[in-house]
Amino acid sequence: MEQRSNRADYWRANLKVLFGCLAVWFLVSYVFGILLVDTLNQIHLGGYPLGFWFAQQGSIFTFVVLIFFYAWRMNAIDKKFGVAED
């Protein structure tokens, strides 16, 4: 029984990290790159209008960082709950 509740806690911890990451994923692409693109384009990053930059550069960089962050957090959670692989 103990192992079962441990598993449930582990899964909840996983979902928490997951939702956090997906919130950022949605923000940089759909919100900054598409929904708010015209507003953000008023601001400039060098020659890049900011919304355009998120759509063609910034979102992609963020995605890469997100996946590595997720892998790092999950490995720590695996260890904490004692379910890491050998």
């Binding site: 994923w25 550069q57 995605f63 490995n75």
Partner: protein, 587 residues
């Protein structure tokens, strides 16, 4: 050295490398044939997956797509990369923990149903076959352009090469060749981009060069200047943002589709552990991002180079502003011979006019005030990558490298798709459903035969494309999004999801997506059989058929959840299986 000889040498050397790798890493067991014995280092798997994923279209066509569509092409950039976030967090680690050989196998086991498995196989075959046709054609085209053979000869050569290394090497051989192909591809793509960025903006990194000021003395930003000149020539602003709803939906459809593509998913079965699968997805996207963040730079800079070659941007409308055809640069001459670039002197002034004559107001103004009688230059979008080394005056070996890179991009994706097709047939259909007692040796043989047949079918379809080349990508992504992704995700994230729900969901998502695409593109893409004209006024709620995969996925989820609610929960051992897949350590 003569350019043609150099190209033969470089391309020939890469082929030799692929053969050697395939012989050294040939598959001896079904595990090696399907999943490379699950022993691939996660960083190397990231490289192989990046090559697997980036097709001839990514390498050759994407920059051109961006060049001509500006902001609107962002859906492809975000969609094709953002899908990896979904794949890394929602699918890859769990499928790796499941630890078998194919994607339909997971669906069959999780939904305790051979029917579900067969539906997944059918979806996989349609997705992968439509995709592989384009790759085979890409090999043929790359050969014919660079090696001066006919498209047919190029296609046969490509078939032969894939046959040798994919049939012999299986997943193990394919993995090591894909790693080599990634290196060739990325080098060929970035070197010309760096030089062009240095020439135009003085920036070493094309990614920052695109946001920098031009070094031509105008002191204007590249993107700002591009916006201004395009508008002066009747085009839309490069950074302008029309139709945000379809950009949103297309991005979503491409993301969900990417995460559901079986030939990409199966690459994450090849790493040793769950944590390697998580990390490997990060490396994959990093390797892809190197090309995908360079592509917008190549697009913008190539567009600028093309415009300022034919048009003095300070003198739009005055006759001297347009380039005399007789004085055109060498690279234009050499690409005219390929037919990718052509000029027609509509107003008979011997000068090249390039502008948007589809814009009626501007066309009328240009005729009245400038004496222009229509845009005279036709530019194929593929030129934006292929002609880059010549535009930047780079040495011949860079041109040879682009040839090898384009062929590598097409071959690596074709091999990955062919493997997905052959394992669905030999492992899921034969071993899984029709001949459960087949010996391992015979299954391996069946896999090799299935791949050979798949190569022949793909080659035939590449030679006789069914007339819907442009639409197949929409179809492949729409189907992957509306069938496989939701079933896989619910199989992992919902313990309550049962056989009835998953089957109903996949069938509903698949059929409605197909129906919507056929409704506007014609039944089975046969021209003239469409029920309504394919334009924004007729689309349901203005949704472009290309973007419909996102809606199809939503339908799949809703139908599956409703049906599962009304039917019996999955048996106890299946719920145990889900528990087990969610936890990395073997229990």
């Amino acid at each position: 050295m003569e350019l043609q000889t150099l190209i033969y040498l470089v391309v020939g050397a890469t082929f030799l490398l692929y053969f050697v790798l395939a012989i050294v890493a040939r598959a001896g067991t079904t595990s090696e044939f399907y999943v490379a014995g699950k022993g691939i280092n996660p960083v190397l798997n990231g490289m192989a997956t990046a090559a697997d994923w980036m097709s001839a279209a990514s390498f050759i066509s994407m920059a051109g797509l961006i060049a001509f569509n500006g902001y609107s092409a962002s859906a492809y950039l975000m969609g094709w990369t953002g899908g990896y976030v979904l794949l890394a967090m929602l699918l890859a680690p769990y499928l790796r923990k499941f630890g078998k050989f194919t994607v339909p196998e997971f669906i069959g086991d999780r939904f305790y149903s051979n029917t579900a498995r067969v539906i997944a196989v059918i979806a996989l075959l349609v997705i992968s076959l439509t995709y592989v046709i384009g790759q085979m054609k890409g090999v043929g085209v790359a050969f014919s352009r660079f090696l001066e053979t006919s498209v047919e000869v190029g296609l046969f050569a490509g078939m032969g090469i894939v046959f040798v290394y994919a049939v012999l090497g299986g997943m193990k051989g394919i993995t090591y060749t894909q790693i080599a192909q990634y290196v060739i591809m990325i080098f060929a793509y970035t070197v010309p981009a760096i030089f062009i960025s240095l020439q135009l903006t003085g920036h070493f990194l094309p990614q920052t060069g695109t946001g920098a000021t031009l070094t031509d003395g105008s002191n204007q930003y590249l993107l700002q200047k591009l916006d201004l000149v395009l508008v002066d020539l009747g085009f839309a602003e490069y950074t302008g943002t029309p139709d945000l709803m379809n950009t949103f939906l297309l991005t979503l459809a491409l993301m969900i589709g990417t995460a559901g593509l079986p030939h990409v998913l199966v690459r994450f079965f090849t790493v040793p552990r769950v944590r390697d699968a998580r990390k490997s997805a990060g490396w994959t996207l990093l390797f892809i991002a190197i090309l995908y963040t360079t592509a917008p730079a190549v697009g913008a800079m190539a567009m600028w180079n093309t415009l300022k070659t034919v048009q003095d941007t300070d003198q739009i409308g005055s006759p001297e502003g347009n380039l005399l055809y007789a004085e055109r640069p060498e690279w234009m001459k050499s690409w005219e011979t390929t037919g990718l670039l052509s000029w027609e002197d509509k107003n008979g002034d011997g000068r090249i006019q390039y502008y948007n004559d589809a814009n009626e107001d501007f066309a009328a103004l240009a005729e009245d005030e400038y004496g222009w009688k229509g845009s005279e230059l036709t530019v194929d979008r593929d030129i934006m990558v292929l002609a880059n080394p010549e535009i930047a005056d780079l040495p011949n070996w860079v041109i040879a490298l682009i040839a090898a890179g384009g062929i590598a991009a097409a071959l690596s994706t074709a091999a990955g798709l062919l493997l997905a097709i052959s394992s669905a047939i030999s492992h899921d259909l034969l071993k899984g459903v029709f001949m459960p007692n087949i010996s391992e040796k015979n299954e391996l043989m069946a896999g090799r035969i299935a791949m050979t047949v798949a190569i022949i079918v793909a080659g035939y379809l590449g030679l006789n494309p069914p007339g819907f080349a442009a639409q197949v990508v929409a179809l492949a992504f729409g189907l992957a999004a509306s069938s496989l992704f939701p079933a896989l995700m619910m199989g992992i994230f919902s313990k309550r999801m049962n056989k009835q729900g998953a089957i109903a969901g996949m069938l509903a998502g698949l059929s409605i997506t197909l129906l919507y695409i056929f409704w506007y593109k014609g039944w089975f893409f046969i021209p003239g059989t469409n029920m309504l004209p394919d334009n924004a006024e007729n689309w349901l709620f203005g949704i472009n058929p290309t973007s419909f995969g996102a809606i199809g996925a939503a339908i799949n989820f809703i139908v599956a959840i409703l049906v599962a609610k009304m039917t019996t929960p999955p048996p106890h051992e299946i719920q145990e299986l889900v528990e087990d897949v969610r936890v990395p350590r073997a229990s």
